[in-house]
Symmetry: D4
Amino acid sequence: MSDMDEPALRALIEAIRSGDTSADDAVDRLRRLPFAEVGEALVDHHRTLRQGMPEAVYGPGKTAQQCVRIVEELLAHGSGPVLLTRASDDQIRAVLAQHRDAEVSAGCVLWRKPTARTDRRVLVATAGTADTPVADEAAITLAAYGHDADRLHDIGVAGLHRLLAHVDQITGADAVIVVAGMEGALASVVGGLTACPVVAVPTSVGYGSGLDGVTALLAMHAACASGITVVGVDNGFGAASAVARMLRT
Amino acid sequence: MSDMDEPALRALIEAIRSGDTSADDAVDRLRRLPFAEVGEALVDHHRTLRQGMPEAVYGPGKTAQQCVRIVEELLAHGSGPVLLTRASDDQIRAVLAQHRDAEVSAGCVLWRKPTARTDRRVLVATAGTADTPVADEAAITLAAYGHDADRLHDIGVAGLHRLLAHVDQITGADAVIVVAGMEGALASVVGGLTACPVVAVPTSVGYGSGLDGVTALLAMHAACASGITVVGVDNGFGAASAVARMLRT
Amino acid sequence: MSDMDEPALRALIEAIRSGDTSADDAVDRLRRLPFAEVGEALVDHHRTLRQGMPEAVYGPGKTAQQCVRIVEELLAHGSGPVLLTRASDDQIRAVLAQHRDAEVSAGCVLWRKPTARTDRRVLVATAGTADTPVADEAAITLAAYGHDADRLHDIGVAGLHRLLAHVDQITGADAVIVVAGMEGALASVVGGLTACPVVAVPTSVGYGSGLDGVTALLAMHAACASGITVVGVDNGFGAASAVARMLRT
Amino acid sequence: MSDMDEPALRALIEAIRSGDTSADDAVDRLRRLPFAEVGEALVDHHRTLRQGMPEAVYGPGKTAQQCVRIVEELLAHGSGPVLLTRASDDQIRAVLAQHRDAEVSAGCVLWRKPTARTDRRVLVATAGTADTPVADEAAITLAAYGHDADRLHDIGVAGLHRLLAHVDQITGADAVIVVAGMEGALASVVGGLTACPVVAVPTSVGYGSGLDGVTALLAMHAACASGITVVGVDNGFGAASAVARMLRT
Amino acid sequence: MSDMDEPALRALIEAIRSGDTSADDAVDRLRRLPFAEVGEALVDHHRTLRQGMPEAVYGPGKTAQQCVRIVEELLAHGSGPVLLTRASDDQIRAVLAQHRDAEVSAGCVLWRKPTARTDRRVLVATAGTADTPVADEAAITLAAYGHDADRLHDIGVAGLHRLLAHVDQITGADAVIVVAGMEGALASVVGGLTACPVVAVPTSVGYGSGLDGVTALLAMHAACASGITVVGVDNGFGAASAVARMLRT
Amino acid sequence: MSDMDEPALRALIEAIRSGDTSADDAVDRLRRLPFAEVGEALVDHHRTLRQGMPEAVYGPGKTAQQCVRIVEELLAHGSGPVLLTRASDDQIRAVLAQHRDAEVSAGCVLWRKPTARTDRRVLVATAGTADTPVADEAAITLAAYGHDADRLHDIGVAGLHRLLAHVDQITGADAVIVVAGMEGALASVVGGLTACPVVAVPTSVGYGSGLDGVTALLAMHAACASGITVVGVDNGFGAASAVARMLRT
Amino acid sequence: MSDMDEPALRALIEAIRSGDTSADDAVDRLRRLPFAEVGEALVDHHRTLRQGMPEAVYGPGKTAQQCVRIVEELLAHGSGPVLLTRASDDQIRAVLAQHRDAEVSAGCVLWRKPTARTDRRVLVATAGTADTPVADEAAITLAAYGHDADRLHDIGVAGLHRLLAHVDQITGADAVIVVAGMEGALASVVGGLTACPVVAVPTSVGYGSGLDGVTALLAMHAACASGITVVGVDNGFGAASAVARMLRT
Amino acid sequence: MSDMDEPALRALIEAIRSGDTSADDAVDRLRRLPFAEVGEALVDHHRTLRQGMPEAVYGPGKTAQQCVRIVEELLAHGSGPVLLTRASDDQIRAVLAQHRDAEVSAGCVLWRKPTARTDRRVLVATAGTADTPVADEAAITLAAYGHDADRLHDIGVAGLHRLLAHVDQITGADAVIVVAGMEGALASVVGGLTACPVVAVPTSVGYGSGLDGVTALLAMHAACASGITVVGVDNGFGAASAVARMLRT
């Protein structure tokens, strides 16, 4: 409220009341109010919106010192979980030096992990061993939202027996995150086995023509299981955030 | 059950009972059972899974006559909704000639639309007029799942005032499908305004460097609102199916 | 102002004045005002912003009937120029049947062309004959903004003599739009000859590896004349709008 | 043998024999022989190589009349099967008018189909109905090689039950051609179920980001089942030819 | 067999025999069996399928310690060859420290190389010196399958004389792997000289516009020799595995 | 010479001579001369440069009437050959109606074909039948330069025997244009057989992953025969023009 | 003036005056003048054009020593600002060692920053923290032109409240540079809020499918706010130069 | 001549002469000759073809030791120039340690540079300083062919005055190599100024959307100056080799 903060508003009300301001003037001044207020109003709305949501800091492109300062601020001004993602070793060392009480996994650091856990079953499944770091990022992000993820490793479609041995876990989940680089269609297979939401994360892992994950991304979009959605390459954080939105419903 | 259908199974049980088959032989024969049964078992599982789900037929690459036959079969062998998508005028004319009682929208035909409607509020928003057909495909698919979609048209981010005039509708929704060709970031904006699931549908609409929707697709993935998921280019059907999964939760 | 339109605002002011509403209540109600007003406020802002700007309708993806209706509305509710772009022959025929008094060029229709012309010299230059339609789109859009464009044809860099014969026209312009398909670097050459703003429009014209204009677009971005900016492939309308912004400055 | 055909060779031998040609001259002339003979020698080699192989004519880019002439020649100068592929309706009509005794399928025409059939089991499997024409092209090409293909339709990985119901057919095959557009990983799944050669054919079918089959092509290459090979987009003919090579072994 | 392992199955058989379980109950319980068994059944099937096949471990994305552990397990639980591929120097040092008795080539480590060799002639040909590591990967993989590969180096099509000097080796092979980066069409040339299976491996080697091998990959697919198949960029392992499938036939 | 044409120049010289203009003024006025003259000077230079070169008109993007008018002008104002390229049937009909005395081939029309022919041997070779139109465009362009091209058809590298049967024609040429769509490396092979200039023309012909010729274009650049140069996709005209430059040397 | 420099010109004038040179000869010699003068004339023109413009040196591809030498020359031969861009640490160290009196920011070094500042308000806005270096490059370039940029950080469209809180700064600017990697459409949003020129700079920052900034670049071109122009990826220098052109108008 | 070397040939001739071999046998044996001879014949042909051509070794993918050995061999078995290209510092150090008498430039090492120089004027022009290494590679390659290249630096089209100041050098050349990264169209401009062969080398240099030179490559192909040819990205060696072919003509 740069133009008209609360004292100003109260003064205007007083002026209306006292008759110092005419009705026309009051209408005029109040009509200008919304525009000035737009930002502030949305700030409030945004604050409500984010209640219970973890604060996330994206590491790349920030200095270790910037990370320390931002984390500090978030820890100081709120009481919810704080998550640093895609952090370099330097960044992790720097932030832990200041704020030790945290969980670290796959380049992510989580402070104030919620102790109350939800009872929703979220499954994070990977096609191959090399997809693990992305799945870890998804899991620690889910933890920040209060979800304990189940994990399935190495259930790529080329070895269908490993996948089918876990069919119960898949059909029993409330949401599944499928992390797969070399064979995008694992998401399709899983989507055909369950009616719950399935979020696919293409990874930049893989032999040959993977094009840093774009092949997997396009393939996941081209795959035909209806109702599968996709997030960006290696974006475990985004997939977990999406599932958190879905399970809030 | 090609190898061992029910009569065969009963005969085996009788043979066990009568002692005609030794325990070892019985174990042996029953051990071979699962493999033969795999398909059948999954068929049953699949049947359960799809209970209440509409049957969908994808038009392209099928002759009008094939469409008629498949629709006929689906109508005959089930009682749920049947949806033909991406149908050509010829296909639509042919199927309606046989089965008139249907709704038609945006190249889709829906028979046996569920009369019971859910109370979940799904919003389908488009950035521009030209995105309408994809949004219509999403809406008729949602209808097949029993969801009546709210609609918002032409709220592209270049005219923020139109978008913000409808902020209540956005924040009040249980799920939002954002259909946008020329400016993929509408999904980001909407995602920042609501905590509910947001599914983005890139469209192949647009000036210049749209690359048939791939630009919008990549841009939607590159956009930074956390927790937005994306479906394939022009895939209104997929987005609606994804929302149906989410709202089942 | 869905929640609180002007009469309501005046009633509230009266209630403040009369003491029927306490100061606290008034603050509370007025604090809620901005959010509801957001859209409306920006609509007003947007209206001011667009004063003197032509209203533009993008043809593709609209039925001829939709075009007629939108044009009708824009002509009825404002008094400024109205421009239909990328219209098909059908759309043009339909809108002209209703509103004859218009200029037609390169798939664009312009009603209420401003009669007052600016004295700024805008040059629209093309590399080859086949770039003409895009240049025409730029020219009619400029006309809608009150600028009469000078035109230079066929000054591709492979025939430097044609370009240099017109060096005076280039150096004398207040802004130059360069429309070039096959050889994106015409923009660089022109940018090196003048200190005024140069806007490059890649076109989808060309032999071989043009990739529908994406090659020209990327090449124009890769070219090294400092201070050249680029719009989308074939986007004559966008280039003209950009120049209109610049010359307002 | 432009320079030195058989009579010339015999004449040279006679000249050697009679002493009319010295040993040095003979060596010299004969040393020049290979180079002139290169083409002819390889023609002979090529002829042997192709024994039993069908002659194939690729339709696109040829006039109907060119097709007629080439087919005529091939039928006249050999006795094996002749296959016209990717033929337009016009081309098919023209060639059949001259040479009626043929099988027609999926834009291919096959004359002199081998009556002796091999006992190798080749399976051609498709992921979806729309992949059928490419599978048909593979099947008629296999027929030209004397292989009767088994067919499996619509066993996309999103409906694993349909695929698994046919596991016996897959594991019983000597070679499998997997034709799949929207979900390239069907090849991986099949490759994991059988130890025989699997050839994947990406198709240009599909929703959204298929990029005319390039997505499927890249995805098939990125998929991880070891030992799967891939042919070009929609290249049913190529896949069948590859299988023919393999089964000759 | 989580739900119903062998003792349970025997108990059920006993209950059937003793009459403690009715026929209906038995049918019912046995019908539930397949689904639980799915995984196990395919594990058995998979085990058979892999008999005689080397176990392969893909190095990238695994720690040296993970490699050591996985190799250890595979050596302990089977008796066939074990192959580690794409291993870093660290990984190789770590695994060799534990299990010395191995062959090392091109970042691959092979334990228990089969001593019985097949009599099939597999030729691995490269276009240039820089393609050698990929060819080496193919050769050591072939060795794991019991095939001793012949090798041809540097037979790129720009020097046809080197290629043709070895025509006998090419025409005498049972299968040819062509490894080529800069000139994808070597596969076409070879395919035209022999009727045996030809597997092309594009490599990421090359001047200029190679796009990390994608150009070679696309070019190999675009090349016209019928019946050539392709594996992913630099995928020597995949090519060798494909040939192993073909020669099993 | 807009500012200062010849009479003006003579008047200035007179004024210098008469002393009406001071030396300083004369220097000043003459210093301004070059800039105004730049265009004209280059026009003269360009005119000389083009002596003996055919005038070429590119058809696409021009109306039939524009073609007629441009051809007319070129025929009227010069005496050399005039070539219309990439013309549509309509354009060809229109121009021939006015100026009958022409040769027509592959969408090109050539008036005033030089009767004096050079003795340079130019070879135009194609990989497949479908490359013929591009080769025809090259041949008629060469004709406009006075070169009679030799032709070789269908010498794709997959059938090396056809290529080698014509090795004499290749090694005997002064320049070779290689037109190839599906297998870009034909240019490499030819380049390895001859020391003369080889210009490669990728074509948009081909199965599968040709990407409208971009694959062939990139492949030709990636191929390794040293000293091969490439022109744009389907650009027979450009290749012929390049050869004309080379043979002028 | 290689052929005819000023003394020569004066000598010619004298010769004309004295009658030593006939009028014809003079015309002839002067007609040859322009061509020789072309370069020189444009050099003069270029010099004028660049008056007041900073001299810029692009660091990459130059040795530190080359940078030192070029900077030295520019500082010695002119009096305006000199800007080194994209300099490595080594290059910066080397040039500062010689010429200390400079400002350093984001890999750029600016000598002789203009002390007179313009009163035009240029706003440089970034979508995220990681876009800061590119914005810094734009700001120091603007400083070289005499513009002090306002800065807005972290106003990405996913948090509309932050953006709208600064609406006054946006609407009050004379030109806006929008620097955005992950969400190209920030430029659209800003373009919809202001009528002044908006220049978009895509950055190579971002999760997943950013393709080193090409996605953002294409997305910015695909976005629909009319009149937005775009510069190359990460090209803060280019954007600032473009704004300098526009504000000169 | 593996099957039949010269002594064998002489023996056969003797046998023919003596009558020990019948005419039929002789024909038969000689008919088999060509095929065996193919390779050898082409080796001879290749040897002739390469007479006077430098031997080139491509560094990347070879160990320093391999380079030493290959260079050694080439120096030992021939007497012409030997050129190592794209060599790393290690490779250069290793080869120079053995064979000191060489010129080194831009990662290339040239032994036995021809002392006889041609009188052909070859111009190597660069658009920017950063293109210098590629131009250097072209120049040292030309030196290996006996051509001393003229050089023009930094004549990018954005500063036309620098280019035009050297118009005489351009029009006086027998062939021009244009090396340009950021602005591919320099080749077009040069091509429009001269009638001699122009070979364009795109470089991987550049701001923003250069895509490692592919943009420049595609742009050079899209540019319209007729008769310009292009080599691969950064391929200075290839351009020089192409010019060497042209000047041999």
